[in-house]
C-alpha cells in the first residue's frame, strides 16, 4: 500500500473504532484527569526539588492527547504528548510522568546550554541521555511510587535496563551521579559520560532493537 492508501485505511478503521468506544473514551478521560489532579501537587513538588526550579510559571498548558496509537511520542515545541487509550488511570499517570520529565529536563537543559532543539530528538545522543535519565529521576518515591511502569521496570526503553558500561548498570551509574551533584552539573557530567561511551551505548541499542520481537 502507498502511504496515502495506508492513511485512508487507518482512518476508516479508527473512525469505526472511535464510534464504538466513545463512551469508554469519555470515562477514561474523566479518570485520567481526576487521577492526575490527585497527585499533581506531589509530582510538582518532587520535580521542583529534582530540577531546582519553580514550575509555577512554566508548562501551564501541557496537554496529553489520548490516542489509539500504543506508542506515545512527545512534542517539545507544542507542550504535548500522547498516551494510549487502553491505559488505566495509573498507567496514564505513569506515561505522563515519563513525558513531563522530558519536558522539564529539556527546559532546564536549554536554559543552561542554549543548543539546538534538533539535538533533543532521535537519534542524537542528547535524546538518548534524556530517555535514560527518566529512570534515575523516577527513583524518587513520590514519582516512582505512583508509576506502575517504574515498579514493572518498564518506565524507560527496555534496553536501558540491560545496558552495562564497564560491567555496571548505566542507570545505576547515572543515579549515583544524579544524587551527588546539582541537576545542571549532572547534565554536563551525564552527557560527558555518554560521549565517552557513545559507541557502546549505540551498539547496545541497535542490537536490542534488531533482535526485538
Amino acid at each position: 500500500m502507498s502511504d496515502d492508501e495506508k492513511h485512508k485505511f487507518l482512518t476508516n478503521y479508527f473512525s469505526a473504532l472511535y464510534k464504538k468506544n466513545k463512551s469508554l473514551l469519555r470515562e477514561k478521560l474523566l479518570k485520567y484527569n481526576s487521577y492526575w489532579q490527585k497527585y499533581e501537587s506531589q509530582i510538582v513538588t518532587a520535580l521542583q526539588e529534582a530540577f531546582g526550579i519553580n514550575l509555577d510559571d512554566v508548562f501551564s498548558d501541557l496537554v496529553c492527547y489520548t490516542s489509539f496509537c500504543p506508542v506515545c511520542p512527545r512534542y517539545l515545541d507544542r507542550n504535548c504528548f500522547n498516551n494510549f487509550y487502553l491505559e488505566s488511570e495509573k498507567g496514564a499517570l505513569g506515561t505522563a510522568l515519563h513525558e513531563i520529565i522530558h519536558f522539564v529536563w529539556f527546559h532546564v537543559w536549554h536554559e543552561t546550554f542554549r543548543d539546538d532543539y534538533v539535538e533533543y530528538e532521535t537519534p542524537h545522543l542528547k535524546w538518548i541521555l534524556s530517555e535514560m535519565v527518566v529512570e534515575p529521576i523516577m527513583r524518587d518515591d513520590r514519582l516512582g511510587g505512583i508509576n506502575p511502569y517504574y515498579a514493572d521496570k518498564s518506565c524507560v526503553y527496555f534496553y536501558f535496563y540491560t545496558m552495562k558500561i564497564d560491567g555496571k548498570s548505566i542507570l545505576d551509574t547515572l543515579y549515583k551521579m544524579l544524587k551527588s551533584m546539582p541537576m545542571c552539573d549532572f547534565m554536563k557530567a551525564g552527557y560527558k559520560y555518554c560521549v565517552e561511551h557513545e559507541a557502546e551505548i549505540r551498539k547496545h541499542i541497535e542490537d536490542s532493537e534488531n533482535t526485538f520481537g
Partner: protein, 56 residues
C-alpha cells in the same frame, strides 16, 4: 505546571501511527501497533499493493 488529558481525535491517532509503522522502521517501533490491533495483519498490511487487496 498544569496538565489536561483530552482525546486527540482520529486524524491525530492515524498520523501518529503512520510515523511508527513507516517503511524502514524496525519491529521495535511497529510491533506494538500490530500487537494491539491483531486484526490488522502486519505482513498483509505491508505487502498489499492496493486497498482492494485488503479484507481484514
Amino acid at each position: 505546571m498544569r496538565l489536561k488529558f483530552v482525546f486527540g481525535g482520529v486524524e491525530h491517532s492515524v498520523n501518529t501511527i503512520m510515523e511508527f509503522i513507516k517503511d524502514g522502521n524496525t519491529n521495535f517501533w511497529n510491533e506494538p501497533f500490530f500487537h494491539f490491533y491483531p486484526d490488522i495483519e502486519k505482513d498483509r498490511f505491508f505487502q498489499c499493493q492496493t486497498m482492494k487487496n485488503i479484507n481484514f
